[in-house]
Point group: C2
Chain length 214, copies 2
């Protein structure tokens, strides 16, 4: 087991080093960047599509999409008008700083104002790998249930903003918003929270304001 632990430690410190390099690269090119994380199907790609509608053409926005398979998400981001890069993780359950570095190399950063990284759909591992982006965003969604902050604390603890998507489904699903927010508050008292619906557009302006403020 010692070999294993040592390997994990080496991987993590290499990741930290590369994340710092990525941050320097992004700062050097004056690119504001966010890392969006969520469960599969919480609405990462939908939120990016809705955000691009407002951000473009005023800003040049690039999207780097991490997935274990297919380029469905990157295709959707490209169709919405962004420069899109697909990173296939080869079965890996999260993006890491090496993968982001490879993605950055495919972009003309000098001509980009904002980079949105869409992480692999997973509420656990992505939280352990800093990519070097400026802000981390978690998307929760109403159908996932109100107990998720309690069950996936590391993810809720480490982010700068929380989107609660699919609020249009609140009438049809048992979801106690107070219980959910109480769990969030324990883990991350100052977290900015944006309840919204990518389907109806409700709540999007507050999120977009935060995003544009950088």
């Amino acid at each position: 087991m010692n070999v294993n632990v040592q390997v994990v430690e080496n991987i993590m410190s290499a990741n930290e080093r590369l994340a710092a390099e990525n941050r320097k690269t992004l700062d050097g090119a004056d690119v504001f960047s966010i890392n969006i994380m969520a469960s599969p199907g919480a609405g990462k790609t939908s939120l990016i599509e809705r955000s691009l509608e407002t951000l473009l053409p005023g800003k040049n926005v690039a999207v780097i999409d991490g997935d274990v398979a297919t380029s469905i998400d990157a295709d959707r981001a490209a169709a919405a008008g962004a420069q899109a890069v697909q990173i296939n993780t080869g079965g890996n359950c999260h993006l890491d700083a090496v993968m982001l570095q490879e993605g950055l190399a495919q972009l003309d950063l000098e001509n980009i104002d904002m980079l949105i990284v869409e992480n692999v759909g997973n509420l656990i591992c992505p939280s352990a790998f800093d990519l070097g982006t400026h802000k981390s965003v978690l998307i929760a969604s109403v159908p996932e249930g109100d107990d998720k902050p309690y069950k996936y604390p590391a993810m809720y603890r480490g982010v700068d903003a929380l989107v609660i998507n699919k609020i249009d489904l609140l009438p049809y699903i048992p979801f106690d918003m107070d219980y959910f927010k109480q769990g969030v508050k324990i883990l991350n008292p100052d977290l900015q929270i944006f309840p919204l619906s990518c389907q109806t557009g409700e709540g999007l302006p507050a999120w977009l304001k935060w995003l544009e403020m950088g």
Copy 2:
């Protein structure tokens, strides 16, 4: 990188060996066992609760719950009348055969007819770790979206039954059932599919029949 690859290979072959041991233990005690996998919030615990309502008291059912934090799910299974064991994975994103072995040691297998293992909420890593259970079940849920078989192929390829939960939400969500099922068929042509709603009870009888047939 070679050390790393070697470590991963050793972990996987150790897991296979322990999974075979678990299968032997379960067979020896005549316990039928299933491994339930899904995204966070797809309805693993709800499906277990609804299944226990019908299975108990005719059968002695035990539930082993894997989670990165809390005992919320095991508490719910215990409240529903099952013998419940909580396995805290310590941040790990999946159960493995060692963890199941530790869980089995806490149960009186001779007095159990059926074991339901609730894996960690994750659509990626659990598919790579055989636990030694007899059948694997995946729960998809309507709000996750109809593209999930295409995006998480390993999970859909490796299971014996697929539950499509939350069909009561179909009127409120864009979800193309034909597109979804077509993706499933490519990966796993003979997969048994059970569309149902744990909320309304619709579709549960077919699932329960499959479960009771073992």
